[in-house]
Symmetry: C2
Subunit: 200 residues, 2 copies
Amino acid sequence: MADHSALPLAVLSEQFAKLPGIGMKSAQRLAYHVMEMSDAEVNAFAKALLDAKKTVHTCPVCQNFTEQQLCRFCSDEKRDHRTVCVVETPKDIAAFERTKEYKGVYHVLHGLISPIDGIKPDMLKIKELLSRVNDGGVDEVIMATNPTVEGEATAMYVSKLLKPFGVKVTRLAFGLPIGGMLEYADEVTLYKALENRNEI
Amino acid sequence: MADHSALPLAVLSEQFAKLPGIGMKSAQRLAYHVMEMSDAEVNAFAKALLDAKKTVHTCPVCQNFTEQQLCRFCSDEKRDHRTVCVVETPKDIAAFERTKEYKGVYHVLHGLISPIDGIKPDMLKIKELLSRVNDGGVDEVIMATNPTVEGEATAMYVSKLLKPFGVKVTRLAFGLPIGGMLEYADEVTLYKALENRNEI
């Protein structure tokens, strides 16, 4: 339907298709769905987009998204502010919160070092982490980036920069996932599980 | 994160989660993605939503979506206006257009009869189809709803209403999909293929 390319439905489809994980076909389906929504519903959707973008900003301390001055972790006196968990994205925080075990605070890098994608260290919130540690009051920094090439490289890079501050730097443990089956474990995970075996 | 329920990011996530095929987890991922978009990009997205909803309406003849007075099929003199293909949704039209073989026009029902979902015949664009046929100029109506329970029931219901007008009513053929393998065909499809076998 080439002659439709500049028309409102096509424009809306293209907007949906720009979102991660939404292909052109799903985008078209979503655009058609919007047509079936009421005016009030579409207005609410558009308003939610603009409101979120306008009021949500990054916390000046940990770089997590917030609409308050400080995010709810940095402003919570009951959290352990001496332990900082470094993650790639704000949504990784939700994963840690689901464990209900972690009581420290966070630092969001907003990406991983990836020369292949042109993402250099100065494009991440690394200097904010260093100045935070430099200001004192931090005992341990937990590097909680994903166990991928970029995640490992970023964890190594950041930990080297942190060492001079005399702070303890740790990395998440890797091994067999709980409930996983040995026969389905990939060789790298199994090697890590073997290497990091604990005495019982 | 219950205490986040009325906050802008949560509101935006809920808006995404209302869209078909997007669960709460994907919705959250999309909301976070919006935070990484520029102001101009978010504004363009919100504008596309509002523009599409404002300018796109249903064609008074065939009920397809259009921003013109008549849709591009109904206003095209080169199409065969004596043959009307009846489909469930506007996106089904795109499937027929991809065949590049169908030269007739369309009629969109905007749904299928489904008592279980509370969708009654008078909620569909059936009376518009009847009045269109009643106005004359239509030789054949092709019932092109999906081969599902609801699609079959709707095709039967509509064809019964059309019979008194003396118009030819046809149904899409069902059988083995081209390129499909006999051993993977489900029994209903295979039965249909056998039942509707043609002499060669």
